[in-house]
Subunit: 558 residues, 2 copies
């Protein structure tokens, strides 16, 4: 028989470690399992053609029947984006604050999932499921309704900060509930998991409210249309823009699909306060003078298909920007997006539009706490054990150092990789199984059908294109009855390089003759010979390595 205190708590992050994206952590205690968050990630540069990346959820299949619920900290894609893929595998209840649940509902409409169990919770609610009691604690982040989770287990309290910052003067709602957090700390926290995103930044993240006057200034100065691009989910930022629009007597146009979605959900649920008649339909835009309009738009990251990029490229069906208009990019570049944003900024400047962005004006604050806030959190909680989460390796390691500098013992801090399983008792915390939880790539409807071989081919094809050498051979005689023909794509501009194509054909012919002479009849051998010879020839001629694809068709002579 198993005694109560023999049961160890197991913790397994399936994502979010060594990356900013696809956060998901599994907690197991005896017959009860809960999951914290279930997010997606955007593809890395080398994942050519991939739409999104989700965590490998196969770990959950074995423990499916024990899962009591998924507890969502907030409604960002890197915390909710994989829920549709989880619900395809198993039917589990999803808990979250109202806005998160609203956004999940919206998301699930695009997926064929029947009657998901979505359970909205309020701050201060404590949800008991099996051995776990999950307490939703009010936090601050770049989306409303973000929560820290204090999870009471038979061996102690596990505290998960979610994504957080400390905003004493938020634009709407209340500051993070530091008192309750302190209370947990005072009573004793066994293990804390805390957001590492901004651990490299000294100081603290300034309040969302500090932007208000800057928006007013910019609205005051603007003579024609104003476009504000920001993250759709940054509802409080949208509120600020809407408020400024009202004060400066401008109507608001919402542009971009995700912006329309979020504004609708957030308004319906009471997270956005918009006066009736303030928002106008984009089709009515020409009924208003330029200085009577503000456009709130997606595209703050320079995404090529987003509304702002289309406006910058004069490719937007409804909105045309002109000299003297003002574009405010109210966001920081996510690492990797610097060049696409820069391209949009340059295009706007080319139209003589006033562009206001990060380097010039305080028009954005981060959603994540910086060093001083991370210290405050750790000091209030004073956990016995600490696991930094939500960060690349550099962030996790730095956060571990920060925790150590605050007095948490080195041996009580673990930097994990995705898929690692940690066992926690009242006295010890240790990795019991090294993980290898991978990325599952989603491309179109295919989930996980694109792997390294396919990606390697896409990379090869993207660099030097391909050359196909195709021929029809008589099965019985081995004689070439048609071809060889050379077809290329993405290699050179064929019309101006006829010579190279003709010579390539000659090379393949010579190879075929050689094979025939040496009595090489096996197709794979012939194909390899063609590959080698053509490869060598092309590289010598032009120093490129296209993919070479020999295709042999077979006919029977009658």
């Amino acid at each position: 028989m198993q005694k109560g205190n023999d049961i160890k708590l197991k913790l397994t992050p399936l994502g979010g470690m060594g990356e900013i994206g696809k956060n998901i952590t599994v907690l197991e205690y005896g017959n009860d399992v809960i999951i914290i968050d279930c997010g997606m990630a955007f593809p890395e540069d080398e994942m050519l053609g991939i739409d999104i990346v989700i965590p490998d959820l196969s770990y959950l299949d074995k423990i499916k029947d024990k899962i009591r619920g998924v507890f969502i900290t907030h409604g960002h894609e890197d915390h909710i984006g994989s829920i549709p893929y989880l619900l395809r595998r198993m039917d589990v209840p999803i808990y979250g604050t109202k806005l998160a649940i609203g956004l999940i509902e919206k998301k699930l409409m695009e997926h064929p999932i029947i009657t998901p169990k979505l359970i909205p919770v309020n701050f201060d609610d404590k949800i008991e499921v099996g051995s776990f009691k999950v307490h939703y604690i009010r936090s601050n982040h770049s989306i409303p309704d973000a929560a820290c989770l204090a999870i009471t287990t038979p061996i102690g309290v596990i505290f998960h900060t979610g994504d957080f910052k400390v905003d004493y003067t938020p634009v709407r709602g209340l500051p993070i509930d530091l008192q309750t957090i302190a209370e947990y700390g005072k009573k004793g926290v066994l293990l804390a998991l805390s957001d590492s995103t901004n651990v490299e930044s000294p100081g603290y993240t300034v309040s969302e409210k500090s932007l208000t006057n800057n928006f007013y200034d910019l609205f005051k100065k603007a003579k024609k249309r104003i476009v504000v691009a920001t993250f759709a989910s940054n509802v409080n930022r949208v509120q600020q823009v809407v408020d400024a629009a009202k004060i400066f007597k401008r109507k608001v146009v919402i542009s971009g699909r995700s912006m329309l979605n979020v504004v609708q959900v957030a308004s319906d649920l009471g997270y956005l306060d918009i006066s009736p008649g303030l928002i106008i339909n984009v089709n009515d835009i020409n009924k208003y003078k330029d200085k009577e309009l503000v456009i709130i738009s997606t595209g703050s990251q320079g995404e090529p298909m987003a509304a702002l990029s289309r406006m910058a490229a004069s490719d937007h069906r409804k909105i045309e920007l002109k000299e003297g208009d003002t574009v405010i990019i109210s966001a920081s570049p996510i690492p990797g997006n610097e060049k696409t944003i820069s391209k949009v900024i340059n295009q706007l400047y080319e139209k003589n539009i006033d562009v206001i962005y990060d380097k010039m004006y305080d028009i954005h604050v981060s959603g994540h706490g910086k060093q001083e806030e991370l210290k405050l959190m750790l000091y209030l909680l004073q956990p016995k054990f600490f696991i930094p989460v939500h960060g690349e390796m550099r962030h996790l390691k730095k956060h571990a150092e920060l925790a150590e500098s605050l007095g948490i013992k080195n041996k009580n801090i673990l930097v994990l990789s995705n898929g690692d399983t940690v066992e926690v008792t009242k006295k010890e915390m240790a990795i019991v199984q090294k993980g290898q939880s991978g990325n599952i790539m989603v491309d179109g409807l295919g989930i996980g059908d694109v792997g390294n071989i396919v990606l390697r081919d896409r990379k090869l094809l993207s660099e030097d294109g391909l050359i196909i050498a195709v021929m029809t051979i008589d099965r019985s005689t081995g004689a070439v009855v048609s071809g060889p023909d050379i077809v290329s794509r993405g290699f050179v501009y064929v019309r101006e390089n006829e010579d190279l194509m003709v010579q390539s054909k000659t090379v393949v012919k010579a190879t075929l003759d050689k094979c025939l002479k040496n009595n090489i009849k096996e197709w794979s051998a012939i194909k390899n010979a063609i590959k080698d010879d053509l490869n060598k020839f092309i590289y010598n001629e032009i120093k490129r390595n296209p993919m070479i694809l020999p295709i042999i068709m077979e006919v029977k002579s009658k």
Copy 2:
């Protein structure tokens, strides 16, 4: 007859406008032409498989016989990288300071160019060529021997700053020659062209010397090996590391081809002062203890093939890094490289190596002046006309605004695009021809043979791969005698998607039958039908758009 004062000065930038890269400006006066710089650029993200980008030099073909010389401001690739491509088209003398000429010589060794005319000049030299007198004035930049050019022409002085900053305490050499610059200003400058790179940054760039103590601190603390990654051409930075190595009794290993090249050229020419015996061969690395070694390496931008990236990935043939080693990345990310650098940093952290980079420590300063230095330059020169150079559109426009704020008249400032031709007289400056000078892409040995069609194909191939439908048809009967076969690359993992392949074949067969039935015999029509049908089928099945390539082989029935 043409009177002297009727001749207008023409200025045409063929690169460097609206971009940071491939700087080249053409100055024409009557029968005399000079060129300032002749650089290359790195490819944009969408230029798949492209190695480098060079300016379109065809403009020069018409005026080839008038070109009196190319005047190089300094030895960076974006100022010298296209010289080999220029010298293939025409034989013109190249002027530059010693280090620049040394680097050009090294570069030309890799190209089959016979006896280039390379002419080293000293600061304060005034080179008279035709109607132009070019005065080399000492400057400061992130490579030694950078120059401003004061070009006296019959209509006045054209002042080109090159890339510059103001360093009153450079590590070697002297500060920028502000007195001579001021003297030109006092006498009167007709037109100034000035570096716009850092116009978005307030303040001034701190001295290279300010890094010295930080390097000492880091060397003092380091317990094992130290790796310093920086730009190869940053000779003064290399000098700083070499000096610190000497003081802390460490031997120096140089790693990376471009680092070896530059260190050799710079040492030979006296720009690097290295005690005999200080540098050891990488093959002798194991003869020394870890704390007796410093490795100066390429790869500060996370370039996948560079030495540091190989060390981080445990893929370097000679150097293995271990726990406790220190890596100092003494460079800032060039926009677009953030993610690759981050990857290297994360890999190093994973090995428990101490990584020191930009956000944590002052271990890098820019080579370009910030707002206060740009103002100083413009105030000293007080030019009548101003053209901002060396910047993206956002930088050029901001620099134009800055100049206006200093009292230069708006109508006397021009923001140009590559290929624009400007006419300058003593009284006026105006664009007389709008340019369309493009990018020439170099891929392997091919110069300009990859254009938009090829790039579009590479992009398509990179996203969803391709499907080839190949069949052999009897020319006389129209009957299919072999195939259709389906071959795919970069599309799905075929072994796990046999069904999709078999179904695709069925689709193509059905299309062929349909064509036969409807008496469609033209191959292009058959191919289009296959493309359409297969495309539709695949998209319905899996929501992907691979390139579809039908190939029809033809045999004669006997």
